[in-house]
Symmetry: C2
Subunit: 343 residues, 2 copies
DNA sequence: ATATTAAATTGACGCGCGGAAACTTTTAAG
DNA sequence: CTTAAAAGTTTCCGCGCGTCAATTTAATAT
């Protein structure tokens, strides 16, 4: 089938009967050449499996087709899902996405951005670690590379932010819990890694005020990204010491809730809204595993698809408009309450 | 601090007082130059933040410092953990790892390998999808690129395989369950995506035979990588139809077990080894969430660290020995039984 | 048919680096 | 102090492609 191996664009241009500069144009943008020549090139492409040397391509190009996707913690399935969505969309748009995880480590996050810079990416989608992030370094990076932040906002960084509306989350869960039973305490880490956590606490207080109820916040200790274990340990203490004012608890996020449910299980608490239950647990995120906890977790769901879709769209707009927006827009998507069995 | 921006290696060589070819040697291998010159270069490196153009570097080099890491499904925290380990080790060895997930899609797996090929990687660590993988394409890839398989073996593919000893898993869980109670049924997918699943079934039968017990295999329907949901649906049927010969069940893997526990919770089964329990559930893998299920999951744990460490070491050996081994070795690590509360 | 415009060709240069050859300097060994 | 080996320097070429200017060819309009 393949008569001879094509070594470079020169040779490929020869066998396709088109000049090399035109072939080069084609690979940069297939629509930039006439339909007839495009057809000829693609016919040749079928017979000879040539692809331009990616290193030589990117060497001189001002802008590559590379896109960096950086998430804070890949072992969290939420980010794996986001990554999958974003990756696919980038690929279909003709870009070359590369996925990175900071694995919860701010130094690694900086290293990733550093390495990314030398890939001359057309743009970067960054879900930062948050509080732990080295903001100065990220700011430096954003000056050099068109960057869209998602999931976790850092004021002023990046050309845009796309995330979820934390108030929408907490207001719905608080409203539901108070309407159907006792008002909830708020269960969170004392020093949360993620800025969304702070907004959720504020939203909780605001909602309780609005309902004329006394907010009650339980802050547990723990550093790092092992939220389940932190939630479990914290919950064991809380439950043993009987520090809950009511039978209702709202977790800042699902991973903490998973840990809390695990603690409930250990201590023999019955979680749910049945008459024989002694605790109601709700949470925020709709983690992929929230469906499979015991009992299944009532939670406010991210609009994952919208967030990742809009993130990608925004990045494309950013790239097309030369890497800068006039003003930094923050897009927030509301949540959807998912009623399951835990509350 | 930085007097002027360094544009290329030529300029950097000038300011460091070393000739360009020597500087080039340094960047290929810092130990290949004299200590004194290395010191001079690194002193210059502190004052000027120059780094060689990665595209120009890789263009002519026969072998790059790139390493590809391909996992079948990143939303499975097991692979996220593996990836983290492997990434770090590659970086400290001076390589440039890039992480890819096939997201359960065989076509994407092939695309990833295809894209990887054009990165001229020094080597690739591949955890294949398994049954669904396009074996011919993977074979082609392995001919071009030094590849080490891990986690999931495909007979004859890659220069080596590093994984876990499935017999070690199942023998321990079966032995434990039979020693402490009724012999277990084996709960698995009828068409498992992963080849380890088949080996586990065989091991189960073998162990039951050895103990003079009748094996009982429950095969549930379901395609894809949403194991938890598949396990849950399957378990709901099994439990409703009362198709369990004993009160003991061994799941092929933890993700199925998580689904099964979820079903148990829904149907009000009490899982555990207490006198008031009506089901014992054990499993294999020690998934990061196995600690947090209700009840916590008794399972045979992968020696994750050993597998990922040995995989990386093997790949490095492979790279140093020119990309080929005399014979394909398969290294299997035994499991460790983790007793928790589900059995 | 001719004028106009769009697209392709020709020929050439440059990107930043790897690598080789021939030569010079430094280092270590006797 | 001599000598050979090791390391560094100079000079050059090539990698594969982007890109540009000048030119020719093809498509579209008048």
């Amino acid at each position: 089938m393949t008569q001879k191996r094509i070594r470079n664009m020169e040779e490929f241009a020869a066998v396709s009967g088109i000049s090399r500069p035109t072939v080069s144009k084609y690979f940069n943008d297939p629509d930039s050449v006439r339909r007839s020549t495009r057809a000829r090139i693609e016919k040749a492409l079928e017979r000879y499996d040539y692809r331009p040397n990616i290193f030589a391509m990117n060497q001189n190009r001002k802008l590559t087709k590379n896109i960096g996707i950086v998430v804070p913690f890949m072992a969290d399935p939420v980010f794996a899902e986001h990554a999958r969505n974003i990756e696919q969309r980038c690929i279909s748009a003709g870009f070359r996405p590369t996925l990175y995880s900071a694995h919860g480590d701010p130094a690694l996050e900086v290293d990733i951005l550093d390495g990314l810079r030398s890939l001359k990416p057309a743009g970067v989608l960054l879900a930062p670690l948050g509080r732990a992030s080295d903001q100065k370094e990220i700011e430096k990076f954003c000056r050099d590379v068109p960057t869209v932040l998602f999931d976790s906002n850092i004021e002023g960084l990046g050309e845009a932010f796309i995330g979820s509306d934390n108030f929408s989350f907490v207001s719905q869960t608080v409203e539901y819990l108070t309407r159907t039973g006792a008002p909830p305490s708020f269960f969170e880490m004392r020093t949360p890694a993620n800025p969304n956590a702070n907004k959720r606490r504020v939203a909780y207080i605001q909602m309780m005020d609005r309902l004329g109820l006394e907010p009650h916040i339980i802050q547990i200790e723990g550093e790092g990204w092992a939220f389940e274990e932190i939630g479990r340990r914290g919950a064991l203490e809380i439950l043993r010491d009987n520090r809950l004012p009511t039978d209702s608890i709202l977790c800042s996020n699902d991973r903490l809730a998973i840990g809390l449910l695990s603690a409930c299980c250990e201590l023999g608490y019955r979680v749910g809204r049945g008459p024989d239950c002694n605790l109601r647990v709700a949470s925020n995120d709709d983690h992929p595993f929230a469906r499979f906890t015991c009992p299944s977790l009532t939670t406010a769901a991210h609009d994952y698809d919208s967030v990742s879709n809009r993130s990608v769209e925004t990045l494309f707009e950013l790239i097309e408009s030369g890497g800068e927006f006039r003003n930094r827009e923050e897009t927030l998507f509301p949540s959807r309450l998912v009623l399951r069995n835990s509350a």
